[in-house]
Structure formats: C-alpha cells, structure tokens
Symmetry: C2
Subunit: 389 residues, 2 copies
Amino acid sequence: MATIMMVGAFDTKDVEYAFLREQILARGHEILAVNTGVMGECEAFAVDVDASEVAAAAGASLESLRAAGDRGAAMKAMGEGAAKVAERGYAEGRFDGIVGMGGSGGSSVVTAAMRALPVGVPKVCVSTVAAGDTGAYVGSKDVVLIPSIVDVAGVNRISRVIFTRAAGAICGMVEAEPASAGDDKPIVVASMFGNTTECVNACSEALSASGYEVLVFHATGTGGRTMESLIDEGLVDAVLDITTTEWADEVCGGVFSAGPERLSAAGRAGLPQLVVPGCVDMANFGGMDTVPQQYKDGTRLFYEWNPEVTLMRTNAEENVQMGRIFAEKLNAATGPVAVLIPLKGVSILDGDGELFCDREADHAFSAALKANLDEGILVREVDHNINDP
Amino acid sequence: MATIMMVGAFDTKDVEYAFLREQILARGHEILAVNTGVMGECEAFAVDVDASEVAAAAGASLESLRAAGDRGAAMKAMGEGAAKVAERGYAEGRFDGIVGMGGSGGSSVVTAAMRALPVGVPKVCVSTVAAGDTGAYVGSKDVVLIPSIVDVAGVNRISRVIFTRAAGAICGMVEAEPASAGDDKPIVVASMFGNTTECVNACSEALSASGYEVLVFHATGTGGRTMESLIDEGLVDAVLDITTTEWADEVCGGVFSAGPERLSAAGRAGLPQLVVPGCVDMANFGGMDTVPQQYKDGTRLFYEWNPEVTLMRTNAEENVQMGRIFAEKLNAATGPVAVLIPLKGVSILDGDGELFCDREADHAFSAALKANLDEGILVREVDHNINDP
C-alpha cells in the first residue's frame, strides 16, 4: 500500500477529485489531499493540507490572494506553495507519488508541485493542455500528462473513463517500484549536438570502456536543463560539458536556451567537470522567417540546418560575453574544473574553411575567458577541431 | 489478466523493449509484440507481428523501404502500417492497451498506432519529446507521453526507473476498467470560444435541463479535431456546432485550424447538427509579431486578445470562401442539418458598433452559403448577435 499526494483546486473541482480519490482508495492506496483552490472550501472529502497552508508555504495569505482578485498572481502563489508542500512532504516520506488535474491554469499549479520532486517519483496530471506545447508544464522532470479530451469539468461519459485510467496509471506507477541494481556504475553526463556528436561518441566509448555509465543530453534547452537538474538531485558523478551552446541561445535570444542557470549545477555540487565551448559559434532559431529582425542587417551568417532549424554564427562581441559568463560560472565551482579549447573550431561548421569558421570570434571567447578565470583553473588549448580524433 | 500491445523498433531498441516486456510480464499481463524496426531483426524476444507484416499493412515492402534508404519515408510507412495493425487488432479483441518508446522518430511511429485507437483504450509512450510541442504525437486522442529524461538508448540508472514506471502505468491503466454507468444520458457536443461562451452556456443549461449531457470543446484546433474524432467513434448523439471559427484559421493560415476535415464527421455519422458561423469573423495568430507579412498591408483590423493571441478580422473574400465550404460540407450530410445565422454579428467583437463589426463580410458569408446549399437544408437568419439571450 502506498500514499498518493492528490493536489488541486478542490473548491471548484470537488466532484472530479472526489471521483479520482474513490478510484485510488478502491485500489487500496491512501490519499494525502492538498487543496490549492483559492476561492472556496472543499465540501466533498477530508483535506490534509488546506489552501491557507499552501498559500502560507509561498509566503502569502489566502485572504490577501482572494482580496487582490488577480487570478494569475493567485495561481503563481499557489503553485509555489504547492511546490514547497510537495518537496517538504516527500522529504519527510509522507507520500510515494503525486496526481492532479486541471485546465491550463490548474495544470500549471499541479505540475509546479510535481516539478519540485525528484525524477523517478510517479507524477500524473490529467490536463486540457497535454496536446500542445507542454514545455512549461513538464520542465526537466518526468511529469506525465494525460490528455483530458473534454474539459476537466464534471464527471461525464468521457471524463469518467479518463479519470479512471488516470487513477490506474498513478496506482500502477507507485506499485511498480524500480529494482535497485547493486552493480551500478558511476554516472558521467555529457552534452551533445549534431555538430559535436563525433567528439561525444568518442568520449563515451572511452569512458564506458573504463567502467563509467555515460548519459548524453541534447543541448536543446530541455536537455541542458534536465542534465543540470539530475546533477542537483545527486544522481551524477562527473560532468563532460562538451556542448555549452545553450549559452549562445541565452545570449542571442535563440530557441534552445537553457536559462541563466546553465553551467552552474556541477560547480555547486562540487563534481569534477570538463568544460568545452562546443557550438558556442551558433545560436538556433526556427525556420529562416523566424529569425529576429535585429539580425537581418547583412552582417550575419546563417545556415539552414533543416527547414525547422536555422543556425546563426555568433559574433566576437557575443563570444566575449560568453567568455566572461563561463569564467564567472566556473570560478564559483566548488569541485575540480578543467577547460579545453579547440583552436580549430568548436563545431563541424567552425572547422577550417567551413562556413562558420571565424577564428577572431573564437579568440574573443578564449581571451575573455582566460582574462576572467581564477588562477587555479586549468585551461588547455589544443590545435584541433572539436571533432578531430 | 490483460494483453498489452507493445509496439516499436525492436531491431535497434531490443534491450530497452526486452526490459519493458519483462516488467509487464512480471505483473501477470501478456504481450502482443509488434515490430516496426525497418533495418534489422529482433533477437531478444518473440515477435507476434513482424516488421514485414507492418510494412505490408501500409502497402509497402520492407525490402523496398530498406533499399530506398529514406529514413523519413520508412518511418511514415511503418507508422501507417502500425496504425492499421493496431486498429485491426483492437477490433478483433486481441489487446486491451498499447505501450511503446522512442525518440522523435520512434515516437511518431508508436503514437501513429495509438492515435488509430478509440479514446479510453490505455496508450503509453515513453518519449524524448514529451516536454515540447506534443500536438502531432498526441493528436486528438488520450495518448500519454512519459518523458524519457535521458535518450531511449540503453538501460541505465535513469532509464531503468522510467521504463519500470511506464510498465506500471500501462498495467495500472488496463487494470482500472471504467465502470459503465447504466444511466448515461444522450451526449451533445458543442464548440465554444471566449467570444461565444454566453451563447454556448445558455444552450448547455437548456439541454442539460432537458436530460442531455453536453460536452464542450474549445475551438482551438485540437478541440474541434477531438470533437470530430469522438463523433467518428460513435460516442455522440447530436452536434451543436456553434463555433466554427476553426475554418477561418484554415482559410487564413491561422494557428487554430482543425484541418480541412472539420465540419465533416457529424454529417458522415448522420447525426442531427445545428451549425452557426460562430467567430468566423476572426482568425487567430500568436503575438502581433507572428502575424504573416501578407496581412500587414494596412487593410486589416487586428485585436490583441492577450499578449499571446492576436485576432484578425476576416474579409468578405474569405467569408465567401467559407460560405461555399460550409455549403459543401453540409450538402454531404446524411443526417438532419439546420443553420442559424445571427444577423447582428457572429462574435462579441462583431456586435453592432464593436471593432470587428463588418456586416458586408458577414453578408458575403451567408450569401455564398445560401447560393450553394441544397434546398432541403434549413437556414434561419435571426436579427440578433450570437450571444444575445
């Protein structure tokens, strides 16, 4: 028997949650009910953590949220509160999995609680927004969205089926406890792009042969965030950050940014990390027509990687900025750090004679990095392209 | 004990699927294994439907797919074949739920099979693309994507947990058989937008009071497609198609198109349908900067509904086109059809004196509709706005 945290707006969706709750109880599991409904009370069943406690966990009060009448602000506060309640409750061993339901607003609150939990903890949210851009709801975690098909509003012929299957999913997931394999190898995470695949594959093979397990993440924003998130969860032993290109997107407003926290987790965790400025020569956009107007002044090089991805060569100024940021991030590291700089290009496209080959920009990066990096940190420049064997 | 169809590329992902299979068998369920892997054989376990059968179901041959060496074309054929195999197998009662795994290509094949099955049949796909735009994978069905966190490549410390939870999810879902409620009311589906909410709510209340169950769908493309899909599955008794705006997006290239099949299912199924050209005065785009260049000639009216949604007033020419399309769709209907045309505007914004008020465009629609509609079909024009009580 397991305990499942059921989180959601029990004031407006009490009928729906009462149905879900019955299905879970009928399978022999227990419920920890957390109410995030701002406006009213829950009449349908007993609540374990009421909405005022959730608001308080976010430093807000239910009364002030009600009085302010700002739906967006209230949702944000309840999401933050639910995340705190979930994180704390899980650390205290109070539940084994989490389930919730909602439209776009409700899903944002429920999944905020889910994203606060480690990978591997079962997380199921019935949602109206499962067929669309789920990035903000899922984040870098294993949040499972079940399409609600109809609105999460009432128990009808369709929703009854969906809610029952959702109860089955969360129950089945908590019942399927993963066996711990005693012989697990130390884990190395690595960042990759098509433009650095050769390099990463070669490293992976060498590390695997030496008894490590290598987990590779595509540097598409989600990939980098997931990698950093696993490091924060303590699942990782060393970091091979060969493709730090997400910083180019962060600096240039590209589509594959992993946010300003990228390149922080390994240092924070004190893990050994090898950092290479892989693919910082390129920022990513969608189709050519999505490239921001500001870059269409004729001074920029573009490459259509495929119809959906346009690469833009970063310039010297952006590389100086990245060099400084990398130095700042790595100076903050509490573990061993080494930087490797390939002098013949940081991607395939930046190789000698290739379209993005711009040694001035490359040099701008390394000069800014070296000028700002603490003395103890090893920087090694090698006279090769990043993918050279 | 249930049977779960396990579908995927067993040639390249045999280790991963063998692990998933073991977890499902350990819970006492059976596996119907369908191989969609084009390049090689499956050595790890017994296959029930092999890849050549899947290819044949799509009218292709495995040899020719291999010989052509076109990865995209092969994926497409195997997806079509898997959909056929799934549809046929489910109709024959050969399985109770479906599970698969993959990257973006693998997920497209696996979810093609899932989308061929009715809503309510458990569908679980472990996928690298669960945190992003899932629209094409989920479609209008209850396809459940489980984020793979790491690539679906090998059984490692992370993937072992994810795969185990996925096995738990599909097993729990097939075990949770929804109770059929004997007292189910006849189902009416209705299409809605913020701009027609008042109208739809009033209809819903009246229908509910008369003993119907009303399911409301937001006309955001997914909503209209889901509504049509439920009609095709035979779950619906009548159709209140009050918000046919998705055709404006289909005609103008907006973001909420439901494709050229919208407005077809009810007629095909012979269901009674009431059709209103709700919100055909507006096509939807994202933020103002996403509006296509062709519309920025100064002749168009725009309204920023919110920072993420820009509405564009449709013109007379587009309304003529829609009038003709509506006539064609309704002429093909095999059941009773009535059309209601509100002469004082088809949305709030199209009300007298409102920003989008353009009676010339409105008239262009109704004139084109009436000129092309078969004689037997009832058209009633009322001297009200769509939302008038």
